[in-house]
Symmetry: C2
Subunit: 132 residues, 2 copies
Protein backbone atom coordinates (compact mmCIF):
# COMPACT_ATOMS: atom_id res chain seq x y z
CA UNK A 1 0.00 0.00 0.00
CA UNK A 2 1.53 3.25 -1.15
CA UNK A 3 -0.01 5.37 1.57
CA UNK A 4 1.37 3.36 4.46
CA UNK A 5 4.91 4.62 3.92
CA UNK A 6 3.73 8.16 3.38
CA UNK A 7 1.98 8.06 6.73
CA UNK A 8 4.82 6.37 8.55
CA UNK A 9 7.37 8.87 7.28
CA UNK A 10 5.36 11.58 9.02
CA UNK A 11 5.08 9.61 12.22
CA UNK A 12 1.41 8.89 11.64
CA UNK A 13 0.21 5.37 12.26
CA UNK A 14 -1.35 3.96 9.12
CA UNK A 15 -4.84 3.38 10.42
CA UNK A 16 -7.78 2.21 8.34
CA UNK A 17 -9.33 5.67 8.51
CA UNK A 18 -6.22 7.54 7.45
CA UNK A 19 -5.63 5.23 4.51
CA UNK A 20 -9.21 5.67 3.36
CA UNK A 21 -8.88 9.43 3.60
CA UNK A 22 -5.63 9.24 1.63
CA UNK A 23 -7.39 7.28 -1.08
CA UNK A 24 -10.08 9.90 -1.42
CA UNK A 25 -7.65 12.82 -1.31
CA UNK A 26 -4.64 11.60 -3.24
CA UNK A 27 -5.78 8.78 -5.51
CA UNK A 28 -6.96 11.19 -8.20
CA UNK A 29 -5.49 12.50 -11.39
CA UNK A 30 -6.38 16.10 -10.66
CA UNK A 31 -5.89 18.01 -7.47
CA UNK A 32 -8.96 19.63 -5.94
CA UNK A 33 -10.30 21.99 -3.30
CA UNK A 34 -12.58 20.91 -0.50
CA UNK A 35 -14.14 21.79 2.82
CA UNK A 36 -14.23 19.31 5.69
CA UNK A 37 -17.91 18.68 5.10
CA UNK A 38 -17.44 18.04 1.40
CA UNK A 39 -14.67 15.60 2.24
CA UNK A 40 -16.83 13.76 4.73
CA UNK A 41 -19.57 13.42 2.08
CA UNK A 42 -17.05 12.18 -0.45
CA UNK A 43 -15.76 9.51 1.92
CA UNK A 44 -19.30 8.38 2.61
CA UNK A 45 -20.05 8.13 -1.11
CA UNK A 46 -16.82 6.59 -2.33
CA UNK A 47 -16.10 4.21 0.48
CA UNK A 48 -19.67 3.49 1.49
CA UNK A 49 -18.92 3.94 5.15
CA UNK A 50 -18.52 6.81 7.48
CA UNK A 51 -15.57 8.18 9.38
CA UNK A 52 -16.28 10.26 12.43
CA UNK A 53 -16.23 13.97 11.73
CA UNK A 54 -13.69 14.44 14.52
CA UNK A 55 -11.35 12.02 12.78
CA UNK A 56 -11.73 13.82 9.49
CA UNK A 57 -10.78 17.06 11.21
CA UNK A 58 -7.86 15.45 13.00
CA UNK A 59 -6.56 13.79 9.87
CA UNK A 60 -6.86 16.84 7.67
CA UNK A 61 -5.02 18.90 10.25
CA UNK A 62 -2.30 16.25 10.56
CA UNK A 63 -1.94 16.18 6.77
CA UNK A 64 -1.78 19.95 6.66
CA UNK A 65 0.94 20.02 9.30
CA UNK A 66 2.94 17.50 7.28
CA UNK A 67 2.58 19.42 4.06
CA UNK A 68 0.18 17.08 2.27
CA UNK A 69 -2.57 19.67 2.24
CA UNK A 70 -2.70 23.43 2.05
CA UNK A 71 -5.19 25.82 3.61
CA UNK A 72 -6.42 28.44 1.19
CA UNK A 73 -6.63 31.99 2.55
CA UNK A 74 -10.13 33.12 1.73
CA UNK A 75 -13.01 34.73 3.52
CA UNK A 76 -15.62 32.13 4.02
CA UNK A 77 -17.41 30.68 6.98
CA UNK A 78 -15.82 27.36 6.10
CA UNK A 79 -12.14 26.54 5.70
CA UNK A 80 -11.03 25.47 2.25
CA UNK A 81 -8.19 23.02 1.72
CA UNK A 82 -6.24 22.21 -1.42
CA UNK A 83 -4.66 18.91 -2.38
CA UNK A 84 -2.36 20.90 -4.66
CA UNK A 85 0.49 21.85 -2.35
CA UNK A 86 2.75 23.34 -5.01
CA UNK A 87 3.16 27.09 -5.26
CA UNK A 88 0.14 28.41 -7.05
CA UNK A 89 -2.61 30.96 -6.79
CA UNK A 90 -6.38 31.13 -7.08
CA UNK A 91 -9.25 32.76 -8.83
CA UNK A 92 -12.32 33.11 -6.67
CA UNK A 93 -15.56 33.41 -8.56
CA UNK A 94 -17.67 35.60 -6.30
CA UNK A 95 -20.97 34.67 -7.95
CA UNK A 96 -20.47 30.92 -8.05
CA UNK A 97 -18.45 30.94 -4.82
CA UNK A 98 -15.95 28.67 -6.49
CA UNK A 99 -12.18 28.46 -6.44
CA UNK A 100 -10.22 27.94 -9.64
CA UNK A 101 -6.52 27.10 -9.73
CA UNK A 102 -4.13 29.52 -11.33
CA UNK A 103 -0.98 27.72 -12.36
CA UNK A 104 2.19 29.38 -11.26
CA UNK A 105 2.92 30.13 -14.90
CA UNK A 106 -0.38 32.02 -15.16
CA UNK A 107 0.92 34.68 -12.81
CA UNK A 108 3.97 36.82 -13.51
CA UNK A 109 6.76 37.01 -10.95
CA UNK A 110 5.83 38.90 -7.81
CA UNK A 111 8.43 41.09 -6.19
CA UNK A 112 8.02 42.10 -2.57
CA UNK A 113 10.19 45.14 -2.03
CA UNK A 114 9.68 45.61 1.66
CA UNK A 115 11.46 43.69 4.41
CA UNK A 116 10.39 43.15 8.00
CA UNK A 117 13.24 42.87 10.46
CA UNK A 118 13.86 39.37 11.73
CA UNK A 119 11.15 37.86 9.58
CA UNK A 120 11.39 35.92 6.38
CA UNK A 121 8.82 35.23 3.74
CA UNK A 122 7.22 31.85 4.02
CA UNK A 123 4.76 32.13 1.16
CA UNK A 124 3.22 34.56 -1.28
CA UNK A 125 -0.37 33.86 -2.18
CA UNK A 126 -2.49 35.71 -4.68
CA UNK A 127 -6.27 35.71 -4.69
CA UNK A 128 -7.93 37.09 -7.83
CA UNK A 129 -11.60 37.83 -7.32
CA UNK A 130 -13.83 37.46 -10.36
CA UNK A 131 -17.15 39.10 -11.11
CA UNK A 132 -19.47 38.94 -14.14
Amino acid sequence: MKYIDKLRISGLRPTKQRIQICEVLFNTEKTFHFTINELEQKIRNKKGNKISLATVYNTVHAFEKNGYLKRIPLNSNQTYFDTNVTNHHHFYDLKEEKLIDLENSDVGPISIKRKINGKKIKSVEVLVKLED
Copy 2:
Protein backbone atom coordinates in the same frame (compact mmCIF):
# COMPACT_ATOMS: atom_id res chain seq x y z
CA MET B 1 -20.84 66.78 11.12
CA LYS B 2 -18.74 65.34 8.34
CA TYR B 3 -20.09 61.81 8.66
CA ILE B 4 -23.73 62.72 8.24
CA ASP B 5 -23.32 63.40 4.54
CA LYS B 6 -21.20 60.34 4.02
CA LEU B 7 -23.95 58.22 5.52
CA ARG B 8 -26.76 59.95 3.68
CA ILE B 9 -25.03 59.56 0.32
CA SER B 10 -25.15 55.80 0.86
CA GLY B 11 -28.78 55.85 1.88
CA LEU B 12 -27.94 55.18 5.51
CA ARG B 13 -29.75 57.20 8.13
CA PRO B 14 -27.21 59.07 10.25
CA THR B 15 -28.01 57.54 13.60
CA LYS B 16 -26.14 58.18 16.81
CA GLN B 17 -24.62 54.69 16.66
CA ARG B 18 -23.44 54.95 13.08
CA ILE B 19 -21.84 58.32 13.68
CA GLN B 20 -20.01 57.01 16.73
CA ILE B 21 -18.76 54.03 14.75
CA CYS B 22 -17.60 56.39 11.99
CA GLU B 23 -15.68 58.42 14.53
CA VAL B 24 -13.85 55.37 15.78
CA LEU B 25 -13.18 53.99 12.32
CA PHE B 26 -12.43 57.05 10.23
CA ASN B 27 -11.37 59.83 12.57
CA THR B 28 -7.77 58.60 12.66
CA GLU B 29 -4.61 59.55 10.90
CA LYS B 30 -3.66 56.01 10.07
CA THR B 31 -5.83 53.28 8.69
CA PHE B 32 -6.04 50.06 10.64
CA HIS B 33 -7.21 46.46 10.72
CA PHE B 34 -9.79 45.14 13.13
CA THR B 35 -12.16 42.36 14.04
CA ILE B 36 -15.72 43.01 15.11
CA ASN B 37 -14.84 42.28 18.70
CA GLU B 38 -11.87 44.60 18.69
CA LEU B 39 -14.08 47.32 17.25
CA GLU B 40 -16.71 46.80 19.91
CA GLN B 41 -14.03 47.13 22.61
CA LYS B 42 -12.66 50.25 21.00
CA ILE B 43 -16.08 51.87 20.95
CA ARG B 44 -16.58 51.02 24.59
CA ASN B 45 -13.21 52.54 25.51
CA LYS B 46 -13.26 55.64 23.33
CA LYS B 47 -16.90 56.60 23.64
CA GLY B 48 -17.49 55.26 27.12
CA ASN B 49 -20.73 53.61 26.12
CA LYS B 50 -21.73 50.45 24.40
CA ILE B 51 -23.36 49.74 21.10
CA SER B 52 -25.11 46.44 20.70
CA LEU B 53 -22.98 43.80 19.03
CA ALA B 54 -25.73 43.25 16.45
CA THR B 55 -25.56 46.92 15.51
CA VAL B 56 -21.79 46.76 15.15
CA TYR B 57 -22.17 43.81 12.79
CA ASN B 58 -24.96 45.53 10.83
CA THR B 59 -23.01 48.75 10.52
CA VAL B 60 -19.73 47.16 9.51
CA HIS B 61 -21.53 45.13 6.85
CA ALA B 62 -23.33 48.22 5.60
CA PHE B 63 -20.02 50.10 5.44
CA GLU B 64 -18.41 47.21 3.62
CA LYS B 65 -21.21 47.12 1.05
CA ASN B 66 -20.75 50.84 0.45
CA GLY B 67 -17.00 50.58 0.04
CA TYR B 68 -15.96 52.26 3.29
CA LEU B 69 -14.41 49.06 4.61
CA LYS B 70 -12.69 46.07 3.06
CA ARG B 71 -12.71 42.46 4.20
CA ILE B 72 -9.23 40.92 4.23
CA PRO B 73 -8.97 37.41 2.81
CA LEU B 74 -7.22 35.42 5.48
CA ASN B 75 -7.70 32.15 7.29
CA SER B 76 -8.79 32.94 10.75
CA ASN B 77 -11.76 32.08 12.90
CA GLN B 78 -12.54 35.78 12.95
CA THR B 79 -13.15 38.11 10.05
CA TYR B 80 -10.67 40.95 9.63
CA PHE B 81 -11.65 44.30 8.19
CA ASP B 82 -9.48 47.12 6.91
CA THR B 83 -10.22 50.84 6.97
CA ASN B 84 -7.74 51.18 4.13
CA VAL B 85 -9.90 50.58 1.07
CA THR B 86 -7.27 51.46 -1.50
CA ASN B 87 -5.56 48.75 -3.51
CA HIS B 88 -2.92 47.25 -1.30
CA HIS B 89 -1.65 43.98 0.03
CA HIS B 90 -0.70 42.42 3.36
CA PHE B 91 1.98 40.70 5.30
CA TYR B 92 0.67 38.23 7.80
CA ASP B 93 3.01 37.50 10.68
CA LEU B 94 2.20 33.88 11.53
CA LYS B 95 3.81 34.02 14.97
CA GLU B 96 2.30 37.26 16.16
CA GLU B 97 -0.91 36.64 14.21
CA LYS B 98 -0.73 40.22 13.01
CA LEU B 99 -1.46 41.90 9.71
CA ILE B 100 0.88 44.53 8.30
CA ASP B 101 0.03 46.75 5.35
CA LEU B 102 2.08 46.48 2.22
CA GLU B 103 1.82 49.66 0.22
CA ASN B 104 0.97 49.16 -3.41
CA SER B 105 4.44 50.44 -4.23
CA ASP B 106 5.96 47.68 -2.09
CA VAL B 107 4.73 45.07 -4.52
CA GLY B 108 5.76 44.91 -8.15
CA PRO B 109 3.10 44.77 -10.84
CA ILE B 110 1.20 41.51 -10.98
CA SER B 111 0.23 40.12 -14.33
CA ILE B 112 -2.55 37.57 -14.55
CA LYS B 113 -2.12 35.76 -17.83
CA ARG B 114 -5.18 33.58 -17.75
CA LYS B 115 -8.73 34.66 -18.63
CA ILE B 116 -12.00 33.09 -17.57
CA ASN B 117 -14.78 33.40 -20.12
CA GLY B 118 -17.44 35.91 -19.18
CA LYS B 119 -15.71 36.94 -15.99
CA LYS B 120 -13.66 39.99 -15.23
CA ILE B 121 -11.15 40.63 -12.53
CA LYS B 122 -12.54 42.57 -9.61
CA SER B 123 -9.47 42.58 -7.43
CA VAL B 124 -6.03 41.08 -7.00
CA GLU B 125 -4.95 40.55 -3.42
CA VAL B 126 -1.60 39.29 -2.22
CA LEU B 127 -1.00 37.75 1.17
CA VAL B 128 2.64 37.34 2.20
CA LYS B 129 3.06 35.04 5.15
CA LEU B 130 6.00 35.74 7.45
CA GLU B 131 7.88 33.41 9.74
CA ASP B 132 10.87 33.89 12.00
